[in-house]
């Protein structure tokens, strides 16, 4: 689908704080209580509207485990926004925020918008980190702050969209160089002024792959007529 801008986001934070659940709630509007450990990076995407403009959010959900830190570090590059997530029911995930923030500041571009998120706000009875503490941390480090619940969907939309609004404002103010893809922003094919010159990147072929429906009819395969059966990994 056509968009005016594409923003790349990255979600970071300790393992088990609900990064993948936030992504799933935002992209699919559903909650999955049991989620496999992310062992690398997973992607999601959704279209939103800001100021009447279609904006595509491309979201990179990273593994939180320490052992994957060296792999996920390179994914900060080219991100326009980051959601830094902790779990309000686990004090240690809040204590690790400084390390995450240092990592993010060191490996991303300086204009990256960072949203601090205290997740699992539905588990009030097990709260270990006060909302005020999150607010204070955010104020101290110049972050936006929200408490969310990936389970009840509370504030999830707002978290992603408010970050996008902040990025959008920075574009309007000229803070972001939108012609440099390393800033995590791409101009879409339907952008009024620059469409013809700036879409030569990866968008074109990928869009083509997305809309080509020939696959169904041209897929050529053997079946029992020829006596060959293909198993999709059932035989381990």
């Amino acid at each position: 689908m056509a968009y005016a801008y594409l923003f790349k986001y990255i979600i970071i934070g300790d393992t088990g704080v609900g990064k993948s659940c936030l992504l799933l709630q935002f992209t699919d509007k559903r909650f999955q209580p049991v989620h496999d450990l992310t062992i690398g990076v997973e992607f999601g995407a959704r279209m939103i509207t800001i100021d009447g403009k279609q904006i595509k959010l491309q979201i990179w959900d990273t593994a939180g485990q320490e052992s994957f830190r060296s792999i996920t570090r390179s994914y900060y590059r080219g991100a326009a926004g980051a959601l830094l997530v902790y779990d309000i029911t686990r004090r240690d995930t809040f204590n690790h925020l400084t390390t995450w923030l240092e990592d993010a500041r060191q490996h991303s571009n300086s204009n990256m918008v960072i949203m601090l998120i205290g997740n699992k706000s539905d588990l009030e009875s097990r709260r270990e980190v006060k909302k005020e503490e999150g607010e204070a941390f955010a104020r101290e480090h110049g972050l936006i702050f929200m408490e969310t619940s990936a389970k009840t969907a509370s504030n999830v939309e707002e978290a992603f969209i408010n970050t996008a609004k902040e990025i959008y404002e920075k574009i309007q103010e000229g803070v972001f160089d939108i012609n440099n893809e390393a800033n995590g922003i791409k101009i879409g094919p339907n952008h009024p002024t620059t469409a013809s010159t700036l879409t030569a990147g990866i968008q074109t072929p990928l869009t083509r792959s997305g809309i080509d429906k020939n696959e169904v009819t041209t897929l050529l395969d053997l079946d029992e007529d020829h006596g060959v059966v293909i198993f999709k990994f059932a035989a381990i």
Binding site: I39, T204, N214, A234
Partner: protein
């Protein structure tokens, strides 16, 4: 892989190419794609995820999703290049195939399979394999393949979708023989029943005695054997499988050539396949990808690369025999460097197709032509164009700004090596590593073996993701991290800016299979 390349998208009707200006569509072909560009099917990526995967700035390492599983818990990881091509030109395929006896009445195998994929086959669990495996006459094989495309992604995509079907078809032709391991493969089909039992020595002795007597068969023998007056080469079952894989590569190449008449199939690709059949691993390689086995920490190479340097003598001999293939612009001789005009008449070091060493010859005018093979190591090129000498596709590839075709010098024939898997014991950390050249350009066999062995030793042995995480780690080590001066790996060496794809296949499952 390609320099000075013009990937001519040819008007292939009638097999005629009408000169350099005709048949070239700089902006690509008007023909439809044979298959849309995608990433390997088993990754199960959405169009949005494919878009993310093509990020040349952050270069995300893609792995198998947590919910998916490959046969034998095989690990897989890949990463896109640092910008040399818009798309990731590597492709991969992994399948378990069951070959069933060809239905009666369909005696000639259909060489171009045209049936539709069974949509009823789901993508993962829930499939009841027992229904199919109950028949002892079926032939099951496991298949892993990597393809490294150049000058476009078309050939690699097509080969990743279709090569295994060709292998299945060729195995089907000999499956009765393969399913009777105690019977010598008959030299000529249809002449005599398959009755040369190898194991019961008494009968073999009897047969041999009968042959020696020149009789039509031993009196009273239940299976009279026809007379043989000459010795016959014994052909093993193993070499029938090798032949099936070799012919499958050839058919795949022919199919790409034919279908270019109606589809846009760009470029060419290398192909590295591993087939596990009846307890043995068959490793077929056409190109510069590589497979090694790591057993008890030791490296066992199971493939060899085909490059301008490794195939120099074959290529020089071909050019010597067919000089017109050089278009009067190249010389088949090799010199340590370009010959200069002022050196004509002097004596210079050279090599011909008959030589692995060097000698001196007197330089003449012919030697001023560009050498057929030029450059060293990864920069070596055939006809100043291509750095890999075996693979599929490339039918329209020509030397830049000329009418000289590259394809006659390229071979689609794989070298197939056999590893008798079930004859060896394998632990959980004994694996086969397959990788495209993006991996091996920057890491040696030994470095790969050490990295994998070390990684697996630190994993929970029961973690089913351990091989995928090991593959991710390996790709990470070859890609490196982005520093001020580009992608860097250990010891501040340059990381690979190429597409990198890696399988890590644990071998112990092969021992369990039998």
């Amino acid at each position: 892989m390609l320099t000075r390349v013009k990937s001519a998208v040819a008007n292939f009707m009638g097999g005629m190419m009408a000169g350099g200006s005709n048949g070239d569509h700089p902006g690509g072909s008007d023909l439809p794609l044979r298959f849309p560009y995608s990433r390997p099917e088993f990754l199960g990526l959405s169009p949005d995820e494919i878009e993310c995967s093509a990020d040349h700035i952050a270069r995300p390492i893609l792995i198998l999703k947590e919910t998916k599983r490959l046969p034998w818990s095989t690990g897989y990881a890949e990463v896109i290049n640092a910008g040399k091509s818009t798309l990731n030109e590597d492709q991969a395929c992994c399948e378990v195939l069951v070959v069933k006896r060809r239905p009666a009445g369909n005696s000639t195998p259909n060489r171009t399979p045209t049936a539709r994929r069974r949509s009823s086959l789901p993508n993962g669990d829930g499939l009841n394999i027992k229904d199919y495996q109950d028949s002892t006459e079926d032939l099951t094989f496991h298949y892993w393949a990597l393809f490294d495309g150049h000058a476009g992604s078309g050939a690699a995509v097509v080969a990743s979708r279709l090569l295994h079907h060709h292998i299945a078809l060729h195995l089907q032709e000999v499956m009765e023989i393969l399913c009777a391991p105690n019977l010598q493969p008959p030299t000529c089909l249809g002449e005599e029943p398959i009755n040369h039992l190898l194991t019961p020595t008494s009968q073999r002795a009897l047969t041999r005695a009968a042959s020696l007597r020149g009789a039509a068969g031993a009196p009273g023998s239940p299976n009279p054997t026809p007379t043989r007056f000459f010795t016959e080469k014994k052909v093993s079952h193993e070499s029938l499988v090798i032949g099936a894989i070799e012919n499958a590569f050839k058919d795949m190449d022919v199919q790409i050539e034919k279908e270019k008449a109606v589809y846009n199939i760009s470029g060419g690709c290398t192909a590295l396949v591993v087939v596990f059949l009846q307890g043995k691993l068959y490793v077929g390689n056409a190109g510069d990808s590589r497979a090694i086995i790591i057993r008890a920490g030791e490296v066992i190479p199971v493939s060899a690369e085909f490059t301008p340097e490794s195939e120099r003598q074959r290529l020089q001999f071909l050019a010597y025999m067919q000089p017109h293939l050089l278009g009067n612009e190249f010389t088949h001789l090799e010199f340590p460097r370009r010959v200069q005009r002022k050196e004509v008449g002097k004596r210079m070091l050279y090599r011909d197709f008959t030589m692995s060493g060097w000698a001196y010859k007197t330089i003449d005018d012919d030697d001023l032509k560009f050498p057929l093979i030029y450059g060293e190591g990864k920069k070596a090129r055939v006809l100043a164009t291509i750095g890999v000498t075996r693979g599929l596709g490339d039918h329209n590839l020509k030397v830049h700004d000329s009418n000289i075709y590259i394809k006659p010098f390229l071979s689609c024939c794989p070298e197939v090596k056999v590893y008798p898997l079930t004859q060896c014991e394998h632990g959980a950390d004994d694996v086969l590593v397959m990788g495209t050249d993006g991996l091996w350009d920057v890491l040696s066999n030994q470095e790969v073996a050490e990295a994998v062995t070390c990684f697996l030793a630190n994993c929970d042995p029961d973690d089913q993701h351990r091989y995928t995480m090991a593959a991710q780690d390996l790709v990470m080590r070859a890609r490196g991290v982005l520093k001020d001066r580009g992608w860097r790996i250990s010891n501040d060496r340059l990381g690979s800016g190429d597409d990198i794809s890696v399988y890590i296949i644990p071998l112990m499952y092969g021992n369990k299979q039998i």
